[in-house]
Structure formats: C-alpha cells, structure tokens
C-alpha cells in the first residue's frame, strides 16, 4: 500500500486524559507549540522525526465527544474532519475507562486508522482497577497499548504499534447499535445522495446527521438537500417514537452502554472503595471551611511570591536599559535619532520588565495549580460568589490570570461555553489590576500613603469589579447555562509540563503584545520630540484640572496610560519635573489617590483593547472602553468628594 510522504498523526482524547503529557514525551522538545489544556483552544502542527521517520503530529485540545455544542470542542471537530489524518492516537484515561471509551467508539465509527493509548494505568491500579489491554484490543479491534505517559512507560511500544498501523493500514469495524437504531442509520446511509460531502465514511456521516439534525448542520441541510433532510427527520422521529427520547440521547445512551459493557469486560475491580491519598486531600481541599481557608492562603501566597520575586527582578532588569538610555543620551544628544532610540529601548525594556518579573512567576504558578488540578477546585469553591456577579466558577481562572496581565486573561475566556459568559468575563477583566497597574499602586499609594492604603485600594478594586459585574449582568440578561465542570483527579504536577506551558503562554504574549508596546513607546517619543505634550495638556486640561483637580502637566500621562500603563508613573514624575522622593512637595495625598484611581481604571491599555477587539468583537471593545472611562470618572469624583 502506498503511504503519504509525511503522515499526519492526530492526538485526541478527553480532557485530563494525559494526552498532552503523552504528546510531549513523543514530540518532546522538538515540537514547537502545543495546546494549553483548559486555557486555550489552539492546536498546532509540529513536524518531528521519530525514530528516523518524519511525522506531522497534531495535538488537539481535549474533547468529550465528537458531537458537541461546546465552541472550543467544535474547533477540534472541524480540524479532525478536515485534516483526514493518517493515524489517530486516542488517549484514554484508564482510571475512567468507561467514559473514555464513549469517545473511542465514536472514533471507531469515524473510521480513520487508529490506536489507543490506555494511559495512566498506574492511577487505575491505585484505584483498584486491573485492566486487560489484550481483551480490550480484541473487543474493539483496535491496537491498545497500556502507557504511563508521565513516566514515559509504554511510549516505545505505542510508537511501534503506531508505525505498524501506518505501514500496514487497518480496517475498523464500528460497533453496531441496537437493531431499531441500526435500521435507521443504514436507511439514512443508503439514501445519502451522490456527491454529498461525506465525512470519512457514509455510515459515520449518517449517524452524525441523525445526532445533530436541528443544529447548524440541519438548518442548511433543508435548503441544500431537502430530500435528505426529510429522510433524516423521518429517521429521527422513528427513533424518538420508539424510545420516547430525543434521537441524540438514544444514540449517546447506546454508546454509553456499549462503553460500560466493554469496560466491564476488559477490567476487573480488585477492591472496593478505598481512601487513596488524592481522595483524602480532596476532602480537605473542597471542605466547606478548610477549603476556603486553603484557597485564601493559596491566593495570598500567590501574590507574596509574585511580588517578592517580581520587584527585585524588575529593578534588576530595568537597570541596564536605563543605563543604555543614558549612554545613548550623551552620545546622540537630543535629536530625533535619540528619541527614536529611547522609545525603542523603553518599549523593549518595558516589555521585558513586565513580562519577566511578574508575569513569569504568575504563569508558572498558574500552570502548576492547573496541572495539580486546583484551578477546577477553586472554580468549584468560588462558583457561588461568581453567581452574584452573573457568572460561574469557570470564570475564576481567567480572572486570576488577569492579575498578571489582562491580555492572556481575555484570550483564556475561550474556555467558557456560552458567548454571554465570555463577553461578561471579558468586560470585567480590564478592571482587574494587572501587574503593571499594581506596580503603580505600590509605587504611588503604598510608598506615599502606606501599605494599608494600598491594600484598601486593592480590596476596593475587587469590590468595584463585583459591583460592575452585578450591574452588567442586569443588562446582559440571557441566562447563563450554569456550571458543569469536571473535577479532574489530583495529579502531582510535573516540572517539564509546567515549564512548557509557561513558555508557550509567554511566547504567545510576547508575539502579540510586544509590537504594540514598542510601537506605543515610539509614538510617545515622537510626541515628546515634537513637543506635542504641551498641546495635549491644553486639550485635556478641562478634564485633568477642572474635573479631577490635578496639575495641568499631568494631561500627557493619561495618553501614556493608554499606551503604556506602567510608564505613567515615570511620566508623572517627568511631567511634574520632580524626582520620586520629592513628589509630595508638588501634589497632595488626595491628588495622588485621585490620579491612581483614574489611571488604573480610565481605559484598558492598547494591547487589551486590541485583544478585546479580536476576541469578542469591535462593538464590545468599544463598550469596554466607554465603561472604563465612565467608571474612572465616577470613581475619581467620588474619591475627591470623600477625601
């Protein structure tokens, strides 16, 4: 049999099946990028050489089934169906075998050559399940290889079997449904018109037509193939009348029972319920009292670590950039060239100084918590609070990410199933004090007014987010479907996987935000060079002087606040012509608070606006900007009145 030059191998499995770990141990450091389970819905091709053979490997995000309404999972399907892979590696969590097999059965129906990695057999054994991979292989008609991806066990055999299938080909036999359902499937299959865009094979297409009719596919089907739609509708009605349940439910239940039967026949329960370590830890982590104590401790530790690591690192990193700038200043004088160079240096320096010190530890800890399985548990614990602001537990992890940087936080809202939840979460994230804004709060409020003020500022900020969320959810009425969140079993996090995830997030952040940061810096340098700051100050004077009661010179810093929030402190000092220690001689405490409040809220930074535009659309990006300006004005006036 002729085989393609470079075969495509797709990894697919349910979330938390250890798919990415397995993918890593095969594609390893050779692979450039991969998906971030739970936080992104990206997929990537990597061309790797495995045992001297070139293979295109694709790691798809986890999906529970091939028939889904979840937007993130639909991407998986589009990809799987269009790719026509030469081999599918189905990763199944052995400790939750019967559920994993439901996807396996669908994949067998899909009919691409496949093998099964029966992963995490150690976890299954710990839970008292003894597996018989040989039996499973005979029953399914698909090679089954037991693996422990985390330790690299079974990977070699998996590869051998994979190449075997690639070389020799494979014929799969889908499991038959019960007679009444089977008859309808065969009938729809038979009546598929010539030239109908069949996915993989006619039988799979027929099953999916019956399962999904009534959705997007069914809608256009009526226009394109009215006869076929009639056939499908008739088949669905026949099944529904027979079983008294919707056709999709009947077919799903068929697979469910087949999977249960298969898992019963290929595994043995050695002992009954036993308290394993993870169950004991879970009992504490999700305890109605201790759970929240631990959650609070985790958050506190989070911020302490980030700022303990971030602060010294930041000054360490900014030092050389400032020196370089000064050196250039003496060399180049005050010409256009110097200003351009200064903008460039400040742009790169700012990028390095935010990304590395604060963002890196945050992402690292987030990945560790995610791998351990804690983020899902935090979502569970905080769900009730999120309900007050019209959201649910799944929005917790984007929010936490927002404390580092709003940009990736908004990207990560993709894990939310409903668009309404995504929009609401994305509108709230810009109000979360990201590390750049936290720096300003620390530098201005904590330094001049004391740490208690800074903590109060933080607490007030979170309260404000809650109020805005509550108000917004009155406007975006559409009910949220509510929380359905799998709580994966706890796993000891592995450093390699955490490092890899952190790196991938940093990489995509740098790629997106740095050009904007550097561009913004250059624009600002040009503004100074052409002495546009005075003109901007005059333009903004009504707002700055009359509205906020701040010195006339601070107008230009607001522009900075849009382009580069973390620069607004330096700009403030520059604009007022004082150094850090003597700021209080020119402005009052009250003015510092007003300035900090306004600059924190008044507009999402350029990168955040851009990502909002890209992720949830222009309309909502403008809503977000308008909202921020409104909130900033109201809050600053309120602060002026109170103080």
């Amino acid at each position: 049999m002729s085989r393609p030059e470079v075969p495509t191998v797709i990894f697919i499995g349910q979330p938390n099946s250890g798919k990415s770990t397995l993918f890593n141990s095969i594609a390893g450091p050779k692979a450039e990028t991969s998906n971030f389970p739970g936080t992104s819905i990206k997929h990537t091709h990597s061309r790797v050489s495995i045992e001297g053979r070139l293979v295109d490997v694709v790691d798809l995000p986890g999906t529970y089934s091939l028939c889904t309404t979840d937007p993130a999972e639909q991407i998986v399907l589009t990809h799987l169906f269009s790719e026509k892979p030469d081999l599918v590696v189905n990763v199944v969590d052995a400790s939750t075998l019967s559920r994993g097999l439901e996807l396996t059965l669908e994949l067998i129906e899909l009919g691409y050559p496949m093998i099964i990695a029966l992963n995490m057999i150690d976890v299954a054994e710990r839970r008292g399940i003894e597996l018989d991979p040989g039996k499973a292989e005979r029953l399914l008609g698909v090679p089954v290889v037991p693996t422990i991806a985390a330790h690299g066990r079974g990977v070699r055999e998996l590869l051998d079997r994979a190449f075997d299938v690639l070389d020799k080909g494979q014929s799969l036999k889908p499991v038959r449904f019960s007679d009444d359902v089977e008859t309808e499937v065969v009938e729809v299959e038979r009546l598929l018109p010539a030239g109908f865009p069949v996915v993989s094979n006619p039988r799979f297409t027929a099953v999916k037509l019956i399962e999904t009719a009534g959705h997007a596919c069914g809608d256009f089907l009526g226009d394109v193939e009215p006869r076929l739609k009639e056939t499908v509708d008739r088949a669905r009605r026949a099944i529904e009348e027979d079983r008294g349940a919707p056709a999709y439910e009947v077919i799903s239940a068929e697979r469910h029972h087949q999977a249960m039967k298969l898992s019963e026949e290929s595994s043995r329960i050695l002992h009954g319920k036993r308290m394993t370590w993870d169950k004991k830890v879970d009992a504490v982590l999700m305890h109605p009292v201790f759970g929240y104590v631990i959650l609070a401790a985790v958050f506190l530790a989070f911020f302490v670590i980030i700022f303990k690591v971030g602060n010294p690192l930041e000054s360490l990193l900014l030092g050389p950039f400032n020196k370089l700038r000064d050196a250039l200043g003496t060399r180049l004088g005050d010409g256009l060239l110097f200003h351009l160079a200064e903008g460039l240096i400040q742009g790169v320096g700012g990028g390095v100084a935010i990304v590395l010190p604060y963002f890196l530890p945050l992402l690292f800890l987030m990945s560790a918590l995610e791998d351990f399985g804690y983020l899902a548990r935090a979502g569970f614990l905080l769900d009730a609070f999120m309900h007050r602001i019209g959201l649910h537990g799944k929005s917790v992890s984007p929010f936490i990410l927002g404390f580092g940087c709003n940009v990736p936080a908004i990207v990560s809202t993709r894990i939310l199933e409903s668009r309404r939840d995504r929009i609401l979460t994305s509108l709230l994230i810009p109000f979360i004090p990201c590390s750049a804004r936290t720096t300003i709060v620390l530098a201005l409020v904590a330094f001049y007014l004391g740490p208690l003020w800074a903590m109060g500022f933080y607490a007030a900020n979170i309260l404000i987010i809650a109020v805005i969320g509550w108000v917004l959810s009155r406007f975006i009425k559409e009910p949220s479907p509510g929380l359905i969140l799998e709580i994966p079993s706890l796993k000891a996090p592995r450093l390699s996987s955490i490092v890899r995830k952190t790196w991938l997030q940093i990489y995509s952040f740098v790629k997106f935000a740095w050009p904007l940061l550097i561009g913004g810096s250059l624009v600002l340098s040009l503004l100074t060079y052409f002495r546009a700051d005075g003109w901007i100050n005059d333009l903004l004077a009504p707002l700055v002087v009359k509205g906020l009661g701040l010195p006339h010179e601070l107008g230009v810093t607001l522009v900075f606040g849009f382009l580069r929030k973390e620069l607004s402190l330096i700009m403030m000092l520059q604009a007022l012509g004082v150094d850090y220690n003597s700021l209080m001689t020119v402005v009052s405490r009250e003015q510092i608070v007003v300035f900090t409040v306004f600059i924190s809220f008044f507009i999402p930074c350029l990168s955040t606006c851009a990502i909002l535009w890209k992720e949830i659309g222009r309309k909502w990006a403008f809503v977000s900007v308008g909202l921020s300006i409104g909130v900033a004005l109201v809050l600053s006036w309120a602060v002026r009145l109170i103080l």
């Binding site: 239940a253 469910h256 999700m286 769900d383 009730a384 309900h387 969140l485």
Partner: protein, 80 residues
C-alpha cells in the same frame, strides 16, 4: 427528587435529565446518563455547586444548582 434535595453519600439513580438540549448533551458527554448511579460528594458554601460522582467511571463533576435541579434522581436501595 432532584440532586439539590437528595441525600449526600448515598447511591442515587438518575431518572431523568431535564433542561435544554445543550445542558443535556453536555451532561451526557461527561458520562451522566439516565439510569446511571451517582453519588453526592460534597457542596460549596452559600448554595454553591454540588459535587456529583459517577459511580461507574469514578469521575466527578461540579454542577451549579440550576443544572443540578434538572437532574432527577431516586434513591437506590443497596442490597444488604
């Protein structure tokens, strides 16, 4: 009864999944079907979500109250 007023730590059989199609599909994809045996494993404070464990596959999901209300269950009498 439904999951919000069912006893904790006892085996329960799912009698019916009510609610919209997308919620039902999601529940089924996560391995919760009519006839399955589940157990309530805990809950968060302030009427927070419930932890529901499927006895067959030993998977646990957190279900918000609104979703949990739509899962009708009956008690299973364990053979003593």
């Amino acid at each position: 009864m439904n999951l919000t007023n069912a006893p904790h730590g006892r085996p329960l059989r799912i009698v019916d999944l009510a609610g919209g199609e997308s919620v039902r599909r999601r529940l089924m994809a996560l391995g919760f079907h009519k006839g399955d045996i589940v157990e309530l494993d805990g809950q968060a404070i302030l009427r927070g979500p419930l932890l529901v464990r499927s006895c067959r596959s030993d998977t646990t999901v957190a279900l918000g109250r609104g979703v949990a209300q739509k899962v009708r269950v009956e008690a299973v009498h364990e053979p003593s």
